[in-house]
């Protein structure tokens, strides 16, 4: 009896696997990952996305912050903000403050970090001393420095220069000196913090690099110029990003030190936004300024990051 061979069964027609439903895709990715990010998403939406959308909406209205009614006024607020001398003054000082503090703090913090990275007696105490100004509330710094810069002969600085026969200087009363005073205090308060940031990056540079460079005959300056500085570029990026964003939105220090005066000399954009928007009931106008400010800050930060990346690529 011959072996009966069953004829091969026809292959079933090819069927693509069923397309997973959205729920399945969600499960496959892991529902838990969404749940873990939920608090952050809630915070982002509630504290950032919704207020930003609201600001844009209010910038197109005459909302005064009290009334429940808001009339649509188009882009009128965006044109009027440029006609207000106080806002233009605020824009000018904010930019001066940002650029000056960024340059000055960077120029001082890097050498300070190099010094603090050396071994010497009392190093930890010195590090703490330089870090201390960043621990204290900026508002308190403003009040204390108000006494230091007091324009009377009994003010701290005027007392010191008085010992040398100099007349009292109106530090906070003359517009240019008031601007300079605010910048000096900001640099004094921020240098230590940024030096510690640079110090952290410096300590990550292997000491073998410097040993090899010394053996090759590199001078201290050459070691700094061709090794330390390039390796610090990521730290410079981070530091300047923080300085730029912090400088552009500065409010507390000028407000507590000078109240924005004399006149509008040390008024900042944030102060204008707060005072116009809330205290003076011009929420529409202040919102327009906020939107312009948000876009400007975004563009500056993008430009700064692009520049930093190019520098990092060049040095590395």
């Amino acid at each position: 009896m011959g072996t009966a061979i069953a004829p091969p069964r026809p292959a079933p027609p090819f069927q693509s696997p069923p397309r997973p439903t959205r729920l399945q895709r969600l499960r496959r990715r892991g529902i838990e990952s969404y749940l873990f990010t939920l608090p952050v998403i809630v915070v982002f939406v509630v504290l950032f996305a919704i207020p930003l959308a609201q600001s844009f909406y209010y910038s197109l209205t005459d909302f005064n912050g009290y009334s429940t009614e808001a009339n649509f006024v188009g882009f009128e607020n965006y044109t009027t903000i440029w006609q207000d001398s106080s806002m233009l003054s605020a824009l000018g000082f904010t930019l001066i403050f940002t650029i000056a503090t960024t340059l000055a703090i960077t120029a001082l913090a890097i050498p300070l970090a190099l010094v603090l990275n050396q071994k010497f007696f009392g190093r930890n105490l010195v590090r703490s001393v330089f870090f201390f100004p960043s621990v204290v509330s900026v508002a308190i710094l403003g009040l204390v420095w108000g006494f230091i810069f007091a324009p009377l002969g009994t003010g701290v600085i005027n007392s010191i220069i008085g010992w040398f026969g100099a007349q009292p200087v109106a530090w906070l009363a003359e517009p240019t000196l008031a601007r300079l005073s605010v910048i000096i205090v900001a640099v004094w308060g921020g240098t230590g913090w940024h030096a510690v940031l640079y110090l952290a990056y410096l300590q990550a540079i292997p000491s073998e690099f410097y040993e090899a460079a010394s053996i090759d005959g590199a001078t201290r300056w050459q070691q700094f110029r061709y090794m330390t500085l390039p390796l610090l570029t990521p730290a410079i990026t981070v530091s300047q990003l923080l300085l730029l964003t912090g400088g552009l939105k500065v409010y507390d220090l000028p407000y507590t030190l000078t109240g924005g005066g004399p006149g509008f000399a040390t008024r900042t954009l944030t102060q204008s936004i707060i005072e116009n928007g809330i205290a003076q009931g011009e929420v529409g106008k202040a919102s327009a300024l906020s939107v312009v400010f948000f876009i400007a800050v975004g563009l500056i930060i993008v430009a700064q990051l692009a520049l930093s990346r190019r520098l990092e690529a060049r040095f590395s």
Binding site: P18, S33, A150, G155, G261
Partner: protein, 415 residues
């Protein structure tokens, strides 16, 4: 889909989900907590005075009304307070009781954020000027129990004898003091000072007390009304009594100079007396009115901010108990004795320090003026502009006439 193809929730993944839910839950919980019912015996209050001033007052109220407790928040006047209150009103989280003042009364009344208090039994205890200040259409929206005035404070040991009542006499006195080696006068020009306000008040009198209404009606300009007052005040700089450093002074810097006898005269309000005596209890000083154009001295000043009841108060009955206590003898006397303000309620006659001098009668007679209170609308915007203009004048950046011009321009931009 057959069950075998479905991804299963393993014990491990279930554990992850539980952990994630545990993290997410507090976020949802914290939001949900916002809607919980409030304690019916709690009175929420946003104080204008700081904790040092208001804390003992609140404690006293809670001692006398042990069934209630006050949940108090603090915000510094003026801009900081208004900003905080506006934010709270906008987010429906405003306290039951808050401050109504010149800078925000129009917005609070327009927006119906404050309840009418005219029907309360204790409303008749308030001074007529106070009622008028916070009333509209016969409805009372704030309980103001005091008024204040500001002028000059004179060290009587350094300035013995008759104090001048005319401005030229005052300038001569300051120049004489300076020639004798005494710092004659300091004024913290952070904005409109007591002297500027008093001079503008003299102008208001000259225009029959309707100067601001005439400006808003278009019959007068700030330039016309303010320039003589500002020019008179600016003589302090022209005569070398003050210099541009005044724009960088604060009251905290000037006060020790006066307390320690290094300064003959300074300007401040009646509320500053406790600060002076606190640091120099034996100082021989007295408040004097700002000397006027023709020997008619005047004061800056205003009815003090009032207490208002939130339309959406969570516990309005409890809040009214607090308002009544604060507006009648028990609360007023305690508050007044602790803080030395000039109470104006009818059922309590305060014992005031002798150093206040003529200031007390000026307050009782209404011989004071404050632009920000008298302006018809946009008070806060104009006050901010006026403050900046006065500072710019002090630093020499503008001329006296530019102050009025600047205010005219600002008002025009707002109308």
């Amino acid at each position: 889909m057959s069950p075998s193809n479905a991804p299963r929730l393993t014990r491990r993944s279930l554990g992850r989900i539980a952990a994630a839910a545990a993290i997410a839950a507090p976020a949802a919980g914290s939001l949900a907590a916002c809607g919980r019912d409030a304690d019916p015996n709690a009175i929420t209050f946003l104080s204008w005075d700081n904790a040092e001033v208001m804390g003992p007052v609140i404690e006293q109220f809670e001692q006398e009304h042990s069934e209630y407790h006050v949940e108090v928040q603090y915000a510094p006047p003026v801009a900081g307070y208004i900003q905080k209150l506006q934010t709270q009103l906008g987010s429906n989280s405003a306290p039951d009781v808050f401050i109504i003042t010149a800078e925000n009364k129009k917005q609070l009344m327009d927006g119906a954020f404050v309840q009418d208090l005219s029907g309360e039994s204790w409303a008749s205890n308030l001074n007529e000027t106070a009622v008028e200040t916070y009333s509209r259409d016969g409805k009372l929206y704030g309980s103001a129990i005091s008024a204040w005035a500001g002028g000059l404070v004179v060290n009587l040991d350094l300035v013995p004898g008759e104090f001048p009542t005319d401005w030229d006499g005052f300038l001569s006195l300051c120049k004489q003091l300076k020639a004798d080696g005494t710092v004659p006068y300091l004024e913290a020009v952070g904005g409109m000072t007591d002297t500027v306000c008093a001079f503008v008040g003299m102008q208001n009198l000259a225009y029959g007390g309707t100067m601001d209404q005439q400006i808003w009606d278009g019959d007068l300009t700030f330039e016309e009304a303010w320039t003589p007052a500002v020019e008179a005040w600016y003589q302090l700089f022209g005569e070398g009594i003050l210099d541009s450093s005044a724009a960088g002074l604060t009251g905290d810097v000037v006060l020790p100079e006066f307390q320690q006898g290094r300064l003959a005269i300074m300007s401040t309000g009646s509320w500053g007396i406790s600060g002076i005596t606190g640091g120099a209890p034996d100082l021989n000083f007295e408040f004097k009115a700002v000397p006027g154009f023709d020997g008619q001295s005047f004061w800056s000043g205003a009815v003090s901010p009032g207490l208002a009841l939130n339309t959406k108060a969570k516990n309005p009955d409890a809040a009214k108990v607090f308002l009544e206590w604060m507006s009648t003898e028990p609360g007023v006397s305690f508050y007044q004795q602790a803080n030395q303000f000039i109470s104006t309620v009818k059922d309590y006659e305060p014992e005031l320090p002798a150093q206040l001098g003529d200031l007390v009668s000026a307050v009782q007679d209404g011989r004071y003026y404050l632009p920000a209170v008298s302006w018809v609308d946009n008070n806060d915007v104009l006050a901010g502009e006026a403050n900046a203009l006065i500072q710019q004048l002090a630093t020499g950046d503008i001329e006296p006439v530019d102050v009025g011009k600047g205010l005219d321009a600002k008002l025009a931009s707002l109308q």
